[in-house]
Symmetry: C2
DNA sequence: CCAAATATTTGAAGTTATCAACTATCAACG
DNA sequence: CGTTGATAGTTGATAACTTCAAATATTTGG
């Protein structure tokens, strides 16, 4: 009978490899497009997490970015220097500073989001039936991992 | 009749969004695992592109990493300092330097590759039929984009 | 009130990135 | 030949990103 050694030809492995490849390509493409907006990945991810209608404490942004709080200081500095957000005192607790997008920030965020989640790369080329199937499978994958 | 505004509920868009989400999660997971090997993404990608059996000119590594040649100098420096590769003179053309993995480099490369393409994340949790379908669709996506 | 905990900032150090300038080598043409 | 121009790699400057440790300001709880 078959030994339990997971040989690398199993569908999961090839799927993962393809996933990796497509992801790398997408990352390159998005990175190039972002740099044309004057954005880097960290700045773009910060914008992504900043809801234009709901200021976010810096600490929560650090959580969302999975990075040290001290890192967020610099990121907020750069975004603030470009007029994309303002630091506001937290109500009730003057230790916290809320990051609030300016109109310019909200506008740039919209453009960055469109780049990041918008025009599908390899996926757009697929026939619609495949797109639907892919969506369904990825939905299941996301549910299962959580 | 339907206006041609691509509404964001089309399967391609949601599939792309899910793809993005799964990719981000995978990147975090892999980044953490790589750091336990003392590797960063650039170093790991460099290792990935270095075939243990075929030394690579530094310029070609720069192409593969989509970065400036001067960047590769530093990356090669760090890998060389750790005994993972050696610079060898190119045969015939003494301008080029070939990067050749040492046995230690080849060993660490294997471990990094296993992390990067190995244990599938969300995908492993899927039923095998889904994995097969996913693989087939991603294959088509890769073919179509090239 | 005082001590401990929390939110943010600062400073040091290392990695990554790009650009421009430099060195060394090669290739080719007259 | 020998100069001229291209090519491979390095170096130095500058900037962003990252983490850690230390400092500051504020809050919370005993």
């Amino acid at each position: 009978m078959a030994t339990k050694t997971k040989d690398q030809t199993m569908p999961a492995y090839e799927a993962q490899r393809l996933f990796f490849e497509i992801g790398m390509e997408a990352r390159r493409r998005i990175g190039t497009a972002l740099s044309e907006l004057g954005l880097t990945f960290p700045l773009a991810h910060a914008l992504r997490l900043l809801d234009p209608d709901r200021p976010l404490p810096m600490g929560e942004l650090a959580e969302g970015l999975f990075c040290d709080a001290s890192n967020v200081t610099g990121i907020a500095d750069r975004l603030e220097a470009r007029g994309l957000l303002v630091r506001r005192a937290g109500e009730g607790d003057r230790r916290v500073k809320m990051l609030a997008l300016t109109p310019a920030g909200a506008k740039l965020r919209r453009r960055a989001l469109d780049l990041m989640t918008g025009p599908p790369a390899a996926i757009a080329a697929l026939p619609e039936a495949d797109q639907r199937t892919l969506r369904d499978i990825l939905r299941r994958a996301v549910e299962l991992q959580s």
